[in-house]
């Protein structure tokens, strides 16, 4: 089976003025679509390799799979993490867990922004749940797949590839990440992901 690009869960201009229609359109229709295609291509090549028994390209294909697979997964979460008129305070169980693991919402926000703003090159800021560690963690991810703690379930992800913000915010990455957190995040979605991720 192959994967297809999930439709944007709102209109292309629904996140204005914080996230402009042009960026959202390019970001979803070109970039996210590119990762879906890349994931399908990597899986097809791996299937062909299994059929022929020729695994000479196993290393390159494994890397391709991690890159495009993570790109697709993170973008899917990213779109669902946002909503028009978002932002505000965390609600539900996740609010309790944030207080528990970071001390306060304010401390969490500061750490999330500091980590996301300082991602080297292209990547993501990620709030994730580790069932093994029993903790929420703020992590950086370089490219899409590097610097993860294994087993982490991403709950809230902020894209800081330049394609995510350059047309509107240029090199002012901190303005984009602040707008994302203060005006776009759907805490209902983050909370639901947290409830789904937590088994223990």
């Amino acid at each position: 089976m192959s994967y297809s690009l999930p439709p944007l869960p709102y209109a292309y201009d629904a996140l204005e003025p914080w996230y402009d229609k042009e960026t959202v359109t390019l970001h979803h229709d070109k970039h996210h679509a590119g990762y879906v295609n890349g994931l399908n291509a990597a899986l097809e090549k791996l299937e062909a390799a299994r059929e022929s028994g020729d695994f000479a390209a196993a290393k390159a294909l494994s890397k391709e799979l991690a890159f495009h697979g993570s790109g697709h997964v993170l973008h899917t979460i990213f779109w669902e993490n946002m909503k028009p008129e978002g932002g505000g305070k965390p609600m539900g169980e996740i609010a309790v867990q944030i207080d528990n693991d970071f001390g306060s919402v304010d401390a969490f926000k500061k750490q999330f922004l500091a980590a996301t703003n300082s991602v080297e090159g292209s990547g993501w800021g990620i709030l994730g749940w580790s069932d093994e560690l029993g903790k929420l963690l703020v992590l950086q991810s370089e490219i899409h797949q590097n610097l993860a703690v294994q087993g982490i379930v991403p709950l809230l992800v902020c894209d800081v590839w330049e394609h995510a913000y350059y047309l509107k915010y240029q090199n002012k990455r901190p303005e984009w990440t602040a707008a994302f957190l203060d005006n776009l995040v759907s805490w209902e979605n983050v909370n639901q992901r947290y409830l789904n991720a937590r088994c223990k």
């Binding site: 390019l26 070109k30 080297e120 090159g121 292209s122 590839w161 330049e162 394609h163 240029q170 090199n171």
Partner: protein, 199 residues
């Protein structure tokens, strides 16, 4: 120590074809200047660091050293990148570097095709480099600024494919940006770099 300075753009901000004044302003004045500033800051911090612990998992010293190569390479590559543009892209066949390209890649167009493919594949830079270990020109692929460098080789034509280099002008159409870059090359300048590298 710690006094690297920003080199001025060697031509007007609006003088490149297909790379806008706006992109040059941000790219040169914010991004490139940012690498120079961070390189200075890191060198100062390293000099002043009180507890110099070496540790492969994590140490402040180790992380500063790691960032040092990122920012130093960022500075160096951006300076060459700007130095070799400002021309009209015409590669005169009498130039030594052009002769060498034909010799090593088969033809100028074959080089261009390989260079473009490399640029479309990189997460950082594609670089036409002279490698003295085999005496040949290569298009090397570099992720970030510092991952994929080949020791001892000299960068002659580095193209920046970070999204800040083209996204404002071209959106996701990186290929058109690569074409514009090639059309702005100053081959006389590149020939000088080649001569220095092979002297």
């Amino acid at each position: 120590m710690s006094n690297h300075s920003v080199k001025a753009l060697p031509y007007a901000y609006d003088s490149l074809t297909g790379i806008s004044k706006q992109v040059n302003e941000w790219h040169h004045d914010k991004h490139y200047a940012g690498y120079v500033a961070k390189r200075n800051e890191i060198e100062t911090k390293l000099a002043e660091l009180k507890e110099k612990a070496g540790n492969a998992n994590y140490s402040e010293f180790g992380e500063l050293k790691r960032r040092e190569t990122f920012n130093a390479s960022g500075q160096i590559l951006h300076e060459i990148y700007y130095d070799i543009m400002g021309g009209d892209g015409s590669a005169d066949e009498s130039l030594d570097v052009v002769k060498k390209i034909v010799e090593d890649f088969g033809s100028f167009d074959a080089w261009k095709e390989d260079f473009k493919l490399t640029a479309l594949s990189a997460l950082g830079w594609a670089i036409l480099s002279f490698d003295p270990s085999d005496g040949k020109l290569h298009n090397f692929l570099v992720d970030m600024h510092n991952n994929g460098a080949v020791w001892g080789s000299s960068p002659l034509v580095p193209i920046d494919v970070f999204e800040h280099a083209y996204y404002f002008d071209y959106g996701p159409d990186r290929g058109s940006y690569v074409d514009a870059f090639i059309n702005n090359l100053n081959w006389t300048k590149i020939n000088e770099l080649y001569k220095n590298a092979t002297r």
